[in-house]
Amino acid sequence: MRPAILAGVVVIQALAAAFFLGDVAADLAVGARDAHSLIEAGVTLALALGIVFGAVELARTIQALRSQEAALRAAAGALGEVITEAFRDWRLTPAEADVALFALKGLDVADIAGLRGAAAGTVRAQLASIYAKAGVSGRAQFAALFVEDLLALLPAAAPPAS
């Protein structure tokens, strides 16, 4: 659950607990000791405990999300390094490296041509050269090269948010 929603629930619980607490205190203050007041007191206590547990749970969720984000950021940064290194190993020209990055991001030939102000034919030739240098048959295989790296970089401790 999103932290903001959880937090909203905790806040509403706290307001409810204050309401019951005021009610119980009033009953006890005027000397009421009947079953109704005592049960109400017990329920209020349980609610208060529930809020504390809810708060602890919320804090854990927030921390878990943060370490996931940190892991993803670290992995994304590291993957960037892996990619640059691979491009260097394959001796891609600077123009080819640009095209290869766009291709990894999922842009098609027309998009890349538009972005680079080049003809589609040029981009197609550059892609062919890139795949040849990387020793793959096409775009799908080319992208798959790095998916494996990304998976290896993600710590097992950071499963996707449920």
Binding site: P3, A4, L6, A7, G8, V10, V11, A14, L15, A17, A18, F19, G22, D23, A25, A26, D27, L28, A29, V30, G31, I51, V52, A55, V56, L58, A59, I62, Q63, R66, S67, E69, A70, A71, R73, A74, G77
Partner: protein
């Protein structure tokens, strides 16, 4: 690119969080609204005044619990009260080179504790003055009739006729003090935001991805 050692919150270069957690934000704006409403709109004898007071009290207690179990920058340990360091921070600020702190800066921390303490006094004296709560007007009248209206203040103090006036005075003084402190607090936010060249308001608002950069 070396990530900071601890998987901390979204803290840009050691400053306060880019976004405070939802409990800090919800309790803060709830409390701020409650304080302003009860100071200006509602009359003391209104049931609504009592309701709003209870809401403020509940939010304050929640924030204090959060100070024990919340994420690191929301915990009391992240902003210990220290007048000496607060003064040092103000001197830095005047000198134009304030340091960045991962939670409240030392001056802000003192202010937060002062606000909390004043609010606590306000809420407790408020409860003492209306012991049976907002919903219990009927109960209260009945208890008055039996002459046994009394109070469950901490420690089980009982309020007599003469004490009531004193508690009322404390309640009023605390209310005025809280407004003065809040005004100083907002002024502090403005000054710090200028001095640190960082918008301190945005992290307290909803803008989920509003990074001050």
């Amino acid at each position: 690119m070396s990530a900071p050692a601890a998987p901390g919150p979204e803290v840009p270069e050691g400053g306060p969080p880019a976004l405070w957690d939802p409990i800090v934000r919800l309790t803060h704006w709830g409390i701020a609204a409650a304080v302003l409403l009860n100071a200006t709109v509602t009359a003391e004898s209104d049931t609504l005044h009592l309701w709003i007071g209870y809401v403020a009290g509940a939010l304050l207690v929640l924030r204090l619990v959060w100070g024990l179990v919340g994420p690191p920058e929301a915990r009391f340990g992240a902003f210990p009260p220290s007048p000496r360091r607060a003064l040092a921070h103000l001197a830095d600020l005047l000198g134009g080179r304030p340091k960045a702190y991962p939670s409240h800066n030392p001056a802000g921390a003192l202010m937060v504790y002062a606000l909390w303490a004043t609010l606590a006094v306000l809420v407790l004296t408020g409860i003492a003055l209306a012991p049976d709560g907002p919903g219990g007007t009927a109960d209260r009248n009945a208890a008055f009739g039996r002459g046994e209206w009394s109070v469950v203040l901490e420690g089980g103090a009982r309020l007599g006729e003469r004490d009531e006036e004193m508690v009322e005075d404390v309640h009023e003084t605390a209310a005025n003090l809280l407004l003065i402190l809040a005004a100083l607090h907002v002024a502090g936010v403005v000054v710090e935001s200028r001095g640190m060249r960082r918008n301190l308001l945005r992290p307290m608002l909803l803008g989920a991805r509003g990074r001050a950069r």
